[in-house]
Amino acid sequence: MFIIFVLNYCSYYMSPRPLRLRKISNPPPVSGFKPYGNKKSGTIPDSIFLHYEEYESLRLCDYEMLNHHQASVIMDVSRPTLTRIYAKARQKIAQALVQGSQIIIEGGKVYFDSEWFTCKSCGCYFNNPEKDAEIKNCPLCRSSDILNFDHKPLDQEETITYCQDVCICPDCGHEQQHQFGRPCREEICSECGKNMIRKGTPHSGKINK
């Protein structure tokens, strides 16, 4: 009884933990999308507001074809958070396509990558110390012709080779650390010789209790 009271108290009177700032490496080239050829004349559905972080998750997962774990490291959030952002993005885009609404990309709890930029007109490199502000002009020559400069060439980019997940044996429940890049079903349980599965996924319903 007391625990229920405390939980209710917490949910009503305490503010939730603030959101972590999501890192945006590449802002979208346009500020939105408009439908054309409305077949139901007269009805204009409301616009859908796609947040920057949702756009970024779509870009990383569906355009760059990264998995959620890699994308979450790039956006500096946890893997479950990235999956939630991504699910929201897909839901909003599906809604816009079905209802024929306009998509406006704006808002969200984000900061723009504070790494390096380069100016095409004077050839200098500069960084952005103010995480919240977006850089539009070169600080030296005021030219707007700037590029987000990736100082690491693609082949030297560090690849993510770790994962916090755990493999579990469906038969005897033996657990071991999951090896990144190696499917759990290829792991053999050292206790009973069965193929293992990922802990915490829907497959774990197969586990004998």
Binding site: G123, C124, N127, P129, E130
Partner: protein
């Protein structure tokens, strides 16, 4: 707003110094009253820690941007916490006057 430029000499005609921590002079340029102040760098000859010491010197003048050729490995996190912008120019032949002209454009 004040801008620090690393310089090889103490006149506007001298060239930009490609190093940050061990440059000869810092030219601190004030964009409001157009004044230039040349500070000799006391950390030019030190063995270690020239970068952080130079950051301290420059930050004491309340600069908001630092223009140099290259920054050492310890500098980025320091300047990030002080919210000072780093600008790198990879042209060793540019003079201080040319850079000031670019800033005034």
């Amino acid at each position: 707003m004040k801008v620090a430029i690393t310089s090889t000499g103490n006149s506007p005609e001298s060239k930009i110094d490609q190093r940050f921590g061990r440059c000869s002079y810092f030219a601190v340029y004030d964009t409001e009253n157009k004044g230039i102040e040349f500070l000799p760098n006391p950390n030019k000859e030190v063995q270690e820690g020239a970068g952080p010491a130079s950051v301290q010197l420059v930050a004491s003048r309340n600069v908001q941007k630092i223009i140099s050729g290259e920054f050492g490995i310890k500098i980025k996190s320091l300047l990030d916490s002080l919210k000072i912008q780093m600008i790198m120019i990879k042209e060793p032949e540019k003079t201080i006057q040319e850079i000031i002209d670019m800033l005034n454009k």
